[in-house]
């Protein structure tokens, strides 16, 4: 039996976000490959941007931004409201396609 490689702080932070999303929706996917059969309702999120502030000629602090898409057949789904209540979260846009409602947010975490 081999030990699994240690989880970096950055990766642990992303796993913490995944765990948080799991409390908000029954299905959560991080940058799913195209061959994944998704189940709804779900939260799909992906890396989007990194906010960096500089000091002493170096990056001093940075925060990753994720694009978070909530996909639900229910147009009155409560999941987008739960996501919108997270700190540093902003609504981007909404669209419906294939009878699925898509709410897209950007979230710094």
């Amino acid at each position: 039996m081999t030990d699994s490689p240690p989880v970096s702080m950055e990766e642990q932070r992303r796993l913490d976000l995944h765990a948080l999303f799991n409390t908000l929706a029954p299905n959560v996917y991080f940058q799913p490959p195209t061959n994944v059969q998704m189940r709804y309702p779900c939260i799909v999120y992906q890396r989007d941007y990194r906010n960096i502030q500089f000091a002493g000629n170096l990056p001093y602090r940075s925060t990753k931004r994720y694009q978070v898409t909530i996909i639900d057949q229910d147009p009155d789904s409560a999941i987008p409201d739960r996501v919108a209540a997270l700190p540093m979260c902003a609504f981007q846009r909404f669209f419906a396609a294939d009878n699925l409602n898509h709410d897209i947010y950007s979230l710094y975490f």
């Binding site: 000091a55 002493g56 001093y60 602090r61 540093m88 979260c89 950007s106 710094y108």
Partner: protein
């Protein structure tokens, strides 16, 4: 010789700021330095040197120039704990901070980069030394966390009181609050020695040498090597020895030679005086246990 512009290697510029250090003075000696993290900018704003024209015989007879002063604004995401005392904050009990207290003077240094079209910012750097600085109260704009993360950037307006400008080779300089060292114009050995003083080294605290010592460091004047003598201790009394070239401090306060009674466990640190340096691996800190 014909003048030429913008030749290869001549397109120099300055950029960046880093390696901020706060120096805490004791009896006029800046004998302890602490790193200043999160430095984002130093805006130098010298004042004075204003012309007052004088007229005589229906002509402009002369210009009187007023004295010049160094002022600046320091910007940073944070500041060392030791800076609080210079920002009008006292700490009567650890963790409890009282504002609107007396603002003390401090020293600081920072580094800016020099670059050109060939070496980029590897060309060299400037080390700026500031003496007799006093920080004015400044705004701290705390705001709600919103949809974009941002750390608060603090800033302090700094005025200065010049210190003795020192002298070299018979030339005495006017009192000054700022000195700049250009790494491209001084010897690498002198610079390394200088940096070991202002940034500290193994077993030796960082300190800010006064102008006269800075000149001697770069003028080839060798520093005298000294080994600090350990203070003696008996009956809860530390006896500070009189060792030429050594400044002994307790809690950052320089001590004269003689007896110092203690009422708690007390550490004594030694730092080299102007014109001196410590021998390698010399002991510079001693801790004495108080016995009730």
């Amino acid at each position: 010789m014909k003048l030429l512009w913008d030749q290869v290697g001549d397109r120099t510029y300055e950029t960046g700021v880093d390696r901020g250090v706060l120096y805490i003075p004791s009896n006029g000696i800046y004998n302890r330095g602490v790193a200043w993290n999160g430095l984002t900018g130093v805006d130098e704003k010298p004042t004075g040197a204003e012309a007052t024209p004088q007229y005589a015989d229906n002509i402009k007879y002369l210009n009187l120039i007023s004295a010049e002063a160094y002022e600046a604004t320091i910007s940073a995401f944070t500041y060392p704990d030791e800076f609080a005392q210079f920002d009008g904050v006292a700490e009567p009990v650890p963790g409890v901070r009282v504002g609107q207290q007396t603002r003390k003077a401090f020293g600081y240094s920072y580094r800016t980069l020099k670059g050109n079209d060939v070496d980029g910012t590897d060309l060299g750097y400037l080390i700026h030394l500031i003496y007799g600085a006093q920080a004015a109260p400044s705004e701290k704009n705390y705001q709600t966390v919103n949809d974009t993360p941002a750390a608060i950037e603090f800033s302090w307006d700094v005025t200065t009181s010049p210190v003795d400008g020192g002298s070299l080779n018979g030339t005495t300089f006017k009192p000054t609050a700022s000195i700049t060292i250009d790494s491209t114009d001084v010897s690498a050995d002198d610079l390394a020695n200088f940096e070991s003083i202002i940034y500290g080294s193994e077993g030796t605290d960082a300190r800010l040498p006064l102008p006269g010592e800075v000149y001697s460091l770069f003028a080839g004047t060798a520093l005298q090597v000294v080994v600090p003598t350990q203070p003696t201790f008996a009956d809860n009394t530390i006896t500070i020895p009189a060792t030429a070239g050594v400044v002994y401090s307790i809690g950052g306060v320089a001590q004269d030679a003689g007896d110092v009674p203690i009422t708690e466990n007390t550490g004594v640190s030694a730092s080299p005086a102007s014109g001196y340096k410590f021998a390698d691996n010399a002991d510079t800190y001693w801790l004495y246990d108080y016995s009730a």
